[in-house]
């Protein structure tokens, strides 16, 4: 039920069953958002919703089981979700996949799979989301990219490319929709302690998913265009992106 002077704030998180997505769901719940949580693993999703709803003592989060590779089914699910929520203020595309990788590994199937989940899935969701937000003349789209998308490294060309594609897509989308009052925020986390990190080649001082969610929320709240999580990665990335390719190639990064 919607009261005109106090309509509920509403958000969708795609990729909310574990890790950063689940932590963001808890964070947004604490901020009073009505939530639609999307992922493949129904049991995990239900647990996240149950925890939030129990804490709120009412239905605040609803689960939607979905594989982002089901491109054709995406618009209908979006329509169902918005009908259930009654509006859509904030949309977060967080679903992501990263396979274990190293400099000697060549696996086209995995590279393509990452491209599909990290970039193509984002396009399938964000295109209709952007369209409706432009019609509503407001709203915020958030894409969870990665510092890994800022350079192509010998260790993970597939993952790097998938995140770079997401970054560029988000940039283009921002340039397309910002004049209609819609914000597009690109989030670039460094390392975060989640299931995904198990697949990382090397782990250097990760932050917790809860901490990441706090920082991501403050970037969302201040309507940042691009935010590194935590902020120090912004400086590191600035340095890395200025290393000429012929030098970068010779560094063991």
């Amino acid at each position: 039920m919607i009261r005109p002077l106090h309509p509920p704030k509403t958000a969708v998180i795609v990729g909310a069953s574990t890790g950063i997505g689940a932590a963001l769901a808890r964070k947004l719940a604490a901020q009073g958002y009505q939530l639609a949580l999307v992922a493949r693993r129904a049991d995990l999703l239900h647990d996240v919703c149950a925890e939030i709803n129990q804490h709120a003592n009412q239905t605040q989060a609803r689960p939607y089981t979905h594989d982002v590779l089901d491109f054709a089914g995406t618009p209908a699910l979006l329509q169902q979700i918005t009908a259930d929520l009654g509006s859509l203020d904030l949309f977060i595309y967080n679903a992501g996949a990263m396979f274990p990788s190293h400099a000697e590994k060549y696996n086209a199937d995995e590279d393509i799979a990452m491209l599909q989940v990290n970039a193509a899935g984002a396009m399938a969701w964000l295109s209709p989301v952007a369209d409706r937000m432009v019609r509503a003349k407001r709203g915020q789209i958030v894409g969870i990219g990665s510092i890994a998308g800022d350079r192509g490294r010998r260790g993970a060309p597939g993952y790097n490319a998938s995140k770079a594609a997401l970054h560029t897509y988000l940039e283009g989308l921002r340039n397309r929709v910002s004049r209609f009052g819609v914000t597009v925020t690109t989030i670039k986390p460094g390392q975060v302690e989640t299931d995904m990190l198990k697949n990382a080649e090397q782990v250097r001082g990760p932050i917790s998913a809860t901490r990441a969610a706090d920082l991501i929320w403050s970037a969302i709240h201040s309507r940042k265009q691009i935010a590194y999580i935590p902020g120090k990665w912004g400086i590191i990335s600035l340095v890395l992106t200025h290393i000429p390719s012929f030098v970068f190639r010779r560094l063991n990064l």
């Binding site: 039920m1 919607i2 009261r3 005109p4 002077l5 106090h6 309509p7 239905t59 618009p75 209908a76 329509q79 169902q80 918005t82 009908a83 259930d84 929520l85 009654g86 509006s87 209709p128 369209d131 409706r132 019609r135 509503a136 003349k137």
Partner: protein, 482 residues
């Protein structure tokens, strides 16, 4: 799946709330039927909308289908001898007066703006400044045809299907769609009226004067300076209008014409009306409003007991002169709190309301008082008494407090046996509504709803917010959660 190309933003007229809706604007009855089919196939509900002049969420159906009747604009029949007029639901008040005035007719009841459609006007059963004499618009309906969500057409009049007739008018679009309406117009003998203005020292003075003058006046409207306190609480002015008697206007053809009635495109010669609101903007703040209110009061004193002539259009639709005035209230928008209190409690009730606004430090920017008589419809806001309508500017900072205050005002209204009007509402709660309408009335509405709209297709944000009991059997279980 619904076609997202139909997604459009629809607002509460007061701009406090807006939502995306899948908007469809059919031009025929068959077209409406197709929209019903589409809704059923997709498990979605259908909200009805005319010109969207309701202040709150009465003509919004967030993320669902919105059926806008604004393309059903044909005048189906007009008899200048009898004054019987048959129209499609999207015909507006303005379309009507322009069509009939040359024959010496006017609408028996008009609201403060000429933009509402007849379908929307009857969805709310609107009233004018002559409610105490002419009743609501519904009382001038000779017959209508409604399309039910089942696809069936129902012909109704006070004699034919009377139960549905008296329920459909005023039930905010949840029972069916008006598709054709026959109304009785009223004869007028000039395009002008006699208008006089009288200053009133306080609330008691205003209500007393209205009571004394009502038998002899054709239209009455009181205006209150909400910034006045203490002894002067409720001070304001009263505007009285009298219509011309036959033969009184030596040249009625001149005044009974569209050219005479329509306001000039430019006010003050050079400033187009459409940008005037930008100037008014500077007055929509407490100080500006205080000055405007005081100015109006002083003008009232100056004009006191002076007579003048005014055209029907300028006397009735003054607000339409400033097409975008409501935008001065952006970004927060405005709400109107209109309460209807029986005559014997009106003074005590309105006094308490005005005082409460002062206590909260949120005086209204505009307050208007009118006189009423009861009407015979199931869903009715009318009383044998008065209404007071208060306009409040909504801001980010006052939003919470304003909602608290109007909830408090609602308590006062209920205490004085008062009622409310869905066309103006954005803030009521279901328990307030069930208290003033009564459980019997609600049970009747619920029974009619399940009989005539068994699949519960017709819903709006307002109906879900205030009448949860009539929507128990939703076609799609998840819809309720909105």
């Amino acid at each position: 799946m619904l076609n997202s190309n139909h997604l459009e933003l629809s607002s509460a007229w007061g701009l406090t709330y807006q939502a995306l809706n899948y908007v469809h604007r059919p031009s025929t009855v068959e077209g409406i039927r197709q929209v019903f089919t589409l809704a059923k196939e997709n498990g979605r509900t259908v909200g009805l909308r005319g010109s969207g002049r309701s202040y709150g969420d009465a003509a919004v159906n967030a993320e669902q289908i919105l059926l806008e009747l604004t393309r059903m604009t044909r005048i189906l029949d007009w008899n200048p001898e009898t004054g019987k007029l048959t129209v499609e639901p999207g015909v507006t008040i303005r379309d009507i007066w322009r069509y009939i005035i040359g024959d010496g007719w006017w609408l028996p009841v008009v609201p403060g703006t000429a933009f509402p459609t007849i379908g929307g006007a009857l969805g709310m059963n609107l009233h004018g400044k002559n409610q105490y004499k002419a009743g609501t618009l519904g009382e001038h309906v000779l017959e209508f045809t409604a399309l039910l969500s089942t696809g069936e057409l129902l012909h109704c009049s006070p004699e034919k299907n009377p139960e549905f007739f008296y329920a459909m008018i005023g039930s905010f679009g949840v029972l069916g769609v008006f598709t054709s309406i026959t109304l009785q117009m009223k004869r007028i003998y000039s395009g002008q009226m006699h208008i006089s203005t009288h200053a009133t020292a306080n609330l008691q003075d205003l209500l007393n004067t209205m009571e004394q003058r009502k038998a002899s006046s054709d239209y009455l409207i009181g205006w209150i300076d909400c910034f006045a306190k203490g002894q002067a609480l409720g001070r304001g002015q009263l505007q009285i209008a009298h219509e011309f008697t036959p033969g009184e206007d030596p040249n009625p053809q001149r005044t009974l014409s569209v050219q005479f009635q329509e306001p000039p495109e430019e006010l003050f010669g050079i400033v187009p009306r459409s940008i005037l609101w930008r100037f008014i903007k500077y007055f929509v703040n407490p100080l500006g409003m205080r000055l405007t209110s005081l100015g109006n009061y002083l003008m009232g004193l100056l004009k006191n007991d002076k007579q003048g002539l005014e055209s029907y259009v300028s006397a009735n639709f003054l607000l339409d002169y400033f097409p975008r005035w409501k935008e001065t209230y952006l970004p927060g928008g405005l709400i109107q709190h209109q309460s209807f209190i029986p005559a014997e409690h009106a003074y005590a009730g309105f006094r308490e309301i005005l005082q409460t606004c002062h206590d909260y430090g949120l005086p209204a920017y505009l307050a208007v008082v009118k006189r009423y008589r009861p009407d015979p419809f199931l869903i009715s806001y009318s009383v044998d008494g008065f209404s007071m309508a208060l306009d409040f500017h909504v801001t980010r900072r006052n939003r919470q407090r304003l909602q608290e205050m109007v909830a408090h005002l609602d308590e006062i209204v209920l205490k004085h046996h008062g009622r409310f009007y869905m066309a103006k509402d954005a803030t009521l709660y279901p328990h307030t509504v069930s208290t003033f309408l009564g459980e019997t009335t609600l049970a009747q509405l619920t029974a009619l709803k399940s009989k005539y709209d068994p699949q519960n297709l017709l819903q709006t944000n307002l109906s879900r917010r205030l009448f949860p009991q009539i929507h128990i059997t939703t076609p799609n279980a998840q819809i309720e959660s909105n």
